[in-house]
């Protein structure tokens, strides 16, 4: 009797969550699959009574789309470059933080600051730092980064302005994405380091192991679950990169005269959605999901072999 009452009560407690999940999570999964396989699907046309054939045409359209390969390439490139750099840097900073006492709290706070910022807002700051101001053809300020480069004897570079190369654009994006990705990784890795049993280090010291050896033979293996975690979340985040680029380059996703040059997978999906091609957008979203899923599985598989628990 009481059990039955409990059943009824539990579902009552869950009702708001389930109702919202059904509309905004479960239905989208079904509908996105449906739209992806209805060839040339468009919501308005459907409402007008049009019907669509079933097949893979949307996926073919995605792949054949002008600039799709650019978007995929940019996404892969940014992920593959920024994840290792930010993970290595975060690991070095975390280890350094873990071996000091004075000022540790202050450093920790400073390194966390980029996390509590708005990607778009700080992206605009990076934009200003790399931007050359010109009036007509007359150069005014060359930007703070170029000023620093010139102060050290280098030459000013056209980083992000009209006529800049994709390579230079990418350098700026990589610096910004790494800057943005560090805090979370440092937080997780430092948390892991603090959990490592001090006895391992004491034992290694007694054996006279060098710092370098201790780092590779004790720190890295003991931290491997955390490293795997930040690498996997880093890959997932990397494949969804979008707002950093909007922050620096605006909605045009490229320098002036190079619209869309830096677009990513997520940007591609939103562009198709705004064009009204929901079928193609859905197919692209499924492709993105498949990539993220595959990379996560590969990561888990590799870490199962390498991670020391």
């Amino acid at each position: 009797m009481d059990k039955k009452k409990n059943q009824w009560k539990a579902w009552l407690y869950l009702l708001p969550a389930i109702a919202i999940l059904l509309i905004f999570t479960v239905w989208p999964i079904i509908n996105t699959l449906r739209m992806a396989f209805l060839e040339g699907y468009n919501g308005l046309a459907e409402a007008g009574g049009a019907s669509f054939g079933f097949g893979f045409a949307n996926f073919v359209s995605v792949v054949n789309y002008n600039k799709f390969l650019t978007c995929l390439g940019n996404t892969l490139l940014l992920t593959v470059i920024t994840v290792p750099i930010s993970t290595m840097l975060a690991l070095l900073i975390a280890v350094a933080l873990n071996s000091i006492k004075p000022l540790k709290k202050i450093f920790q706070t400073i390194f966390f600051l980029p996390y509590v910022t708005n990607s778009i807002a700080i992206g605009m700051v990076f934009m200003a730092m790399f931007h050359m101001v010109t009036l007509g053809s007359q150069p005014l300020s060359i930007g703070i980064i170029n000023s620093i480069i010139e102060a050290f004897g280098g030459h000013a570079v056209n980083w992000i302005d009209a006529g800049s190369t994709t390579f230079n654009n990418m350098v700026v994006l990589i610096i910004y994405i790494v800057w943005n990705a560090l805090p979370f990784k440092i937080l997780v890795l430092l948390g892991g380091l603090q959990g490592v049993n001090k006895q391992y280090y004491d034992a290694a010291k007694v054996d006279g192991a060098s710092r370098w050896r201790i780092f590779w033979r004790i720190t890295v293996p003991m931290l491997s679950p955390m490293i795997a975690y930040v690498v996997i979340t880093g890959f997932i985040g990397g494949f969804k990169e979008y707002t950093s680029i909007v922050g620096i380059f605006g909605d045009s996703m490229g320098p002036i005269g190079g619209d869309g040059n830096l677009n990513t997978m997520v940007g591609f999906i939103y562009d198709r959605l705004e064009d009204g091609f929901q079928g193609i957008a859905s197919a692209a979203a499924l492709i993105l999901f498949a990539i993220i899923f595959a990379v996560t599985i590969i990561n888990l598989y590799v870490s199962k072999k390498k991670v020391h628990y």
């Binding site: 708005n118 605009m124 703070i144």
Partner: protein, 309 residues
């Protein structure tokens, strides 16, 4: 920095001082080594900290420069003349920052409160009540966390705009994101740590479930609830893609969308970067303040979520 290193040396256990001559010479060597290592550590950390802080410094000094000073060939490291009117422009210009702040606070507060209610009720059902299919349902919820949000966005856009006719309403910004499976998971874990005996004792005393939830479970889980609140508010503050899609009129526009969309172009055709930076500062400072006050809660929530906002 030299002081710091002295402190470290003084921290050394005193027993080494009384050792025999041969040991003293090796400890002396070790001491010198340690000083060098510490110099290295602090230099590295300081360099990284300067890199992390530089964009903040640049944003602050640029925000109070006159346009003339900003556009000089040789940048000034500290403003010669403070142009506070840059800040006023954020509120009076086409950005309408006051309105955007108000919109964002409304969305943030309402969605946080509703989301807390939904999350608490669901977490309670999963942690405390028994019902058929509980584990299957919970596993299914967790599985949805793997799917990238972009996949939902396409259908949700159609649902919100075409079916519910919610374009340019606060509902469109709030309702689709009320349920976060991750927060339910986080709170359920917390609820499960509360001993069953407390519940049984309360039952013997004739306390109703809701009263027990309100008087015992919620106070005991306050840290998690605070983490959720802050992350949810930060989410509203930072969200860009969805608000730009569904609600981009002045009465509902959120800060990030407005910030990126405003032009800041002057009559001469130049972008007023100092005014732009002033607006960026105004958007960034509230987040930094929240962080400084609630550091512990933010870091707790973040290290377990791996998501930004």
């Amino acid at each position: 920095m030299a002081e710091e290193i002295n402190v470290i040396q003084n921290d050394k256990p005193p027993k080494q001082k009384n050792n025999s001559a041969s040991v003293t010479s090796t400890t002396k060597k070790q001491k010198v080594r340690k000083v060098f290592i510490n110099i290295g550590l602090y230099t590295f950390l300081t360099l990284m900290a300067v890199t992390v802080l530089f964009p903040f410094y640049f944003m602050l000094i640029s925000s109070v420069k006159t346009m003339n000073e900003y556009n000089q060939m040789i940048p000034t490291l500290w403003p010669k003349q403070f142009e506070w009117s840059n800040y006023a422009m954020a509120f009076t210009g086409d950005l309408h920052l006051g309105q955007l702040f108000l919109n964002t606070v409304i969305v943030g507060v309402v969605s946080t409160i509703l989301s807390l209610v939904v999350t608490v009720l669901s977490a309670y059902a999963f942690a405390r009540l028994d019902f058929k299919g509980k584990n299957v349902l919970f596993a299914a919820l967790l599985a949805t966390m793997m799917i990238p949000g972009e996949l939902f966005t396409i259908t949700n856009y159609i649902t919100v705009v075409n079916w519910f006719d919610w374009r340019n309403t606060f509902a469109a910004l709030i309702v689709p994101f009320l349920v976060s499976v991750f927060y339910i998971y986080l709170l359920r874990q917390n609820f499960m740590q509360i001993p069953n005996e407390l519940y049984l004792a309360a039952k013997v005393d004739g306390t109703s479930d809701l009263k027990y939830l309100w008087k015992v479970m919620i106070p005991l889980s306050a840290p998690t609830l605070i983490s959720i609140t802050i992350l949810k508010m930060m989410g509203a503050w930072n969200s860009y893609i969805w608000p730009k899609l569904v609600a981009n009129d002045l009465a509902h526009r959120l800060v990030t969308v407005g910030l990126r969309g405003a032009a800041f172009t002057t009559a001469s055709g130049l972008v007023n970067i100092p005014a732009q930076m002033a607006a960026v500062v105004l958007v960034t400072i509230p987040l930094l303040l929240v962080f400084l006050f609630f550091r512990k809660y933010i870091m707790r929530g973040v290290s377990r979520s791996g998501i930004k906002g």
